[in-house]
């Protein structure tokens, strides 16, 4: 497991590195955005831990650089910025998860494992249904040819639904896909994401199967 840690605070970087190595990860570090970009070009990483408050340019620029190259490497944002709008901006820019400093190292490891489990060993064919095309490698969704920006969570919900096209996906399966397992929070989170997806991609795309879950509509109805 190769990780890239982009963090400008050396004390925090050292502590995180030690912790991550103790958990069996191999870690490279980069202290600023330029070094991070170079490292991303030269090596393949399994995941990137990205600090937003870097000297010079923001970590968000590294994220858009990565996604601009159609690189779907999972990215977890680490930041001292606890403003909710920043977090939404990070997720919209293609981050897989977001963790606010100060955080417990255990929480970071848990999220890291969840993110990597989701992306591991996945062959990524382009999925399409009713004019909606999802390209997992490029993390790109288009509707009738026009790009539709989705947050990481919406993307994952849609991905699972499209992978199982035509079959019903339960709420638990979707939650598992979006967050990794969670016995702690019981919620209608998935309903919220489905609502957002319907708003962005059309009401007909996702069908609610009462008492069971959701499925992508078979396309017969849509033109």
């Amino acid at each position: 497991m190769n990780l890239l840690l982009v963090e400008d605070d050396t004390m925090l970087a050292e502590a995180l590195c030690a912790g991550l190595r103790a958990h069996g990860f191999r870690v490279d570090t980069a202290g600023d955005a330029a070094l991070a970009r170079t490292a991303l070009v030269e090596h393949d990483f399994d995941a990137v831990l990205l600090d937003l408050g870097l000297p010079g340019s923001s970590g968000l620029s590294v994220l858009s650089y990565l996604r601009g190259r159609y690189d779907a490497t999972p990215v977890i944002i680490l930041t001292a910025r606890d403003k909710l709008s920043d977090r939404i901006a990070g997720l919209d820019a293609g981050a897989d998860d977001y963790i606010v400093k100060p955080f417990q190292p255990d929480e970071l490891f848990a999220r890291l494992r969840a993110v990597m489990r989701r992306t591991q060993g996945r062959v990524s064919p382009v999925l399409s249904c009713n004019g909606v095309v999802l390209d997992p490698a490029r993390r790109e969704v288009t509707r009738d040819g026009a790009a539709v920006p989705l947050s990481a969570h919406e993307f994952r919900t849609l991905l699972l639904l499209m992978e199982r096209q035509g079959r019903v996906v339960t709420r638990e399966q979707l939650e598992e896909a979006v967050y990794g397992s969670s016995g702690t929070i019981e919620s209608n989170t998935i309903a919220v994401y489905v609502h957002q997806l319907r708003r962005k991609l059309g009401e007909q795309l996702i069908v609610t199967v009462h008492g069971q879950g959701y499925r992508i509509s078979n396309g017969g109805a849509a033109a």
């Binding site: 909710l84 848990a110 967050y179 702690t184």
Partner: protein, 456 residues
């Protein structure tokens, strides 16, 4: 003319005023002068003719004819030329009157005719009893000369009035603005954070709204500065205790004799760090709210996705405490600020997670509701913890207020309460015109805090 100087503006305006007044006056005069028959010109011509006729002695017709002398150089009729005719002869005349009759038909009344290439305005008056005819005329040149002289004089008068005006304006403004200069000097010599209201004796009343507004602003700045001072004092006080705890546990860990002792100390150190971190986070939120001078711009937004994002942050904490969080949301938009709502939700959930205790339950429910006839979204966060006595429920929203037992607790998670979280909730609710209700929590125990937002 685009100038901001009061003096120049007034000067410019008075130029325009004097000019307009002068033109209006000129127009009236011109109309009055040139009105046919009854205007000043015709009237004077008629009067002169009548006077000449009356003043003529009898027997003019018997005067012997004489040679008409040439007009001496430099002599001319300035305003009018006239002729007195008796028995078909021009017996008396003004020095530069033409030789031919001004009005050859000799009929009484006005006429306009051309004599020696000039246009004349002529008037003829006869006295048939004495056989005398008086003719009075003005050439165009005479009229023009007279008008020119007259316009020149009036321009001079207008100029004098204008100069007087400007002098007055400059002096009056200079005098009126002296208190402004004095005010400026006072401001310059003030110490940087002297926020006492300005006194400006002798300042024209037109300036008092400005000074009042400035004083209002000073008061607001004063409040902000006071808030900041209070915050710094509070923060210093609030941070000292958790830091002392950290330092104590770190010390214990270093001196621990057994592995077990060290482990305990380190675990407490970790918990202390989490507490200090949360406290500093809340203090920063508090500072951010305190520093906010203008009301936030509220935009219509969905509450549900924000709840999902924030509640997920408590997953680890809840798992550690074997708690279960139930999150239920309905769609609905409210007018809000994303960041402020983030702080509000975080602190509500944080409060519930902390107070619910080990193995507790927390419910975060957001649904459409109607309160007092107003539709909106009710966000309710409930726990099954020990709750708060009804008489205390008002006070939990005051800054640094800790509910009974919150500060000293027998293993109670309340012990980490800072007394900041709910005061932030109350303040943010106020800026969103949202109302807060406090009730019993789950299963008749615990606490439920509902924030009702009017619909967007």
């Amino acid at each position: 003319m685009k100038t901001r100087s009061l003096r120049w503006r007034l000067t410019w305006v008075s130029v325009k005023c004097v000019l307009v007044a002068w033109l209006v006056w000129l127009g009236c005069q011109a109309w009055q002068l040139s009105r046919a028959h009854y205007g000043f010109w015709d009237e004077s011509q008629r009067e002169v003719a009548a006077q000449i006729l009356e003043s003529m002695p009898d027997g003019l017709e018997s005067l012997p004819p004489r040679e008409r002398p040439a007009v001496p150089a430099g002599h001319r009729d300035h305003k009018m030329s006239w002729q007195v005719w008796a028995s078909g002869r021009n017996v008396v005349y003004s020095i530069a009157a033409p030789g031919e009759p001004l009005k050859p038909d000799f009929r009484d009344g006005f006429a306009r005719r051309s004599i020696a290439g000039q246009v004349w305005h002529v008037y003829s008056l006869s006295d048939p009893r004495r056989g005398l005819i008086v003719q009075v005329g003005r050439s165009k040149e005479m009229i023009a000369n007279e008008i020119a002289r007259w316009v020149g004089l009036s321009l001079l008068a207008a100029g004098l009035i204008f100069v007087l005006f400007v002098l007055t304006v400059w002096t009056v403004i200079g005098r009126s603005l002296r208190p402004v200069a004095a005010l400026r000097d006072t401001l310059r010599t003030r110490p940087p954070l002297d926020l006492t209201p300005l006194q400006a004796p002798g300042l024209p009343t037109e300036f008092s709204p400005l000074v009042d507004a400035f004083n209002d602003q000073l008061t607001r700045v004063d409040t902000a500065v006071q808030n900041e001072r209070r915050f710094i004092a509070d923060a210093a006080h609030e941070l000292r205790t958790p830091l002392a705890v950290l330092s104590a546990h770190a010390d214990l860990a270093r001196r621990a004799a057994t592995e077990e002792e060290r482990d305990t100390a380190l675990r407490r150190l970790s918990a202390g760090v989490a507490r200090a971190a949360r406290l500093s986070e809340q203090l920063l939120d508090l500072a951010r709210l305190d520093a906010q001078t203008a009301a936030p711009t509220l935009v219509p937004l969905d509450l549900a996705p924000l709840l999902v994002l924030v509640v997920r942050d408590f997953e680890t904490l809840a798992r550690e405490r074997q708690q279960r969080i139930l999150l239920r949301t309905e769609d609905g938009r409210v007018l809000g600020d994303v960041d402020l709502l983030g702080i509000l939700i975080r602190n509500l959930v944080d409060n519930a997670v902390r107070y619910a205790g080990e193995g507790g339950r927390i419910e975060v429910i957001c649904r459409r509701d109607v309160r007092d006839g107003v539709g909106g979204i009710a966000l309710c966060v409930a726990d099954d913890g020990p709750g708060v006595a009804p008489e205390e429920r008002e006070r939990i929203f005051h800054r640094f207020y800790r509910a009974n037992g919150a500060g000293n607790g027998h293993g109670n998670p309340r012990s980490s309460g800072s007394g900041i979280g709910l005061s932030l909730v109350a303040r943010i609710a106020r800026t969103h015109n949202a109302r807060i209700h406090v009730e019993d929590g789950l299963d008749g125990r615990g606490l439920a805090i509902t924030v009702f937002f009017p619909a967007a």
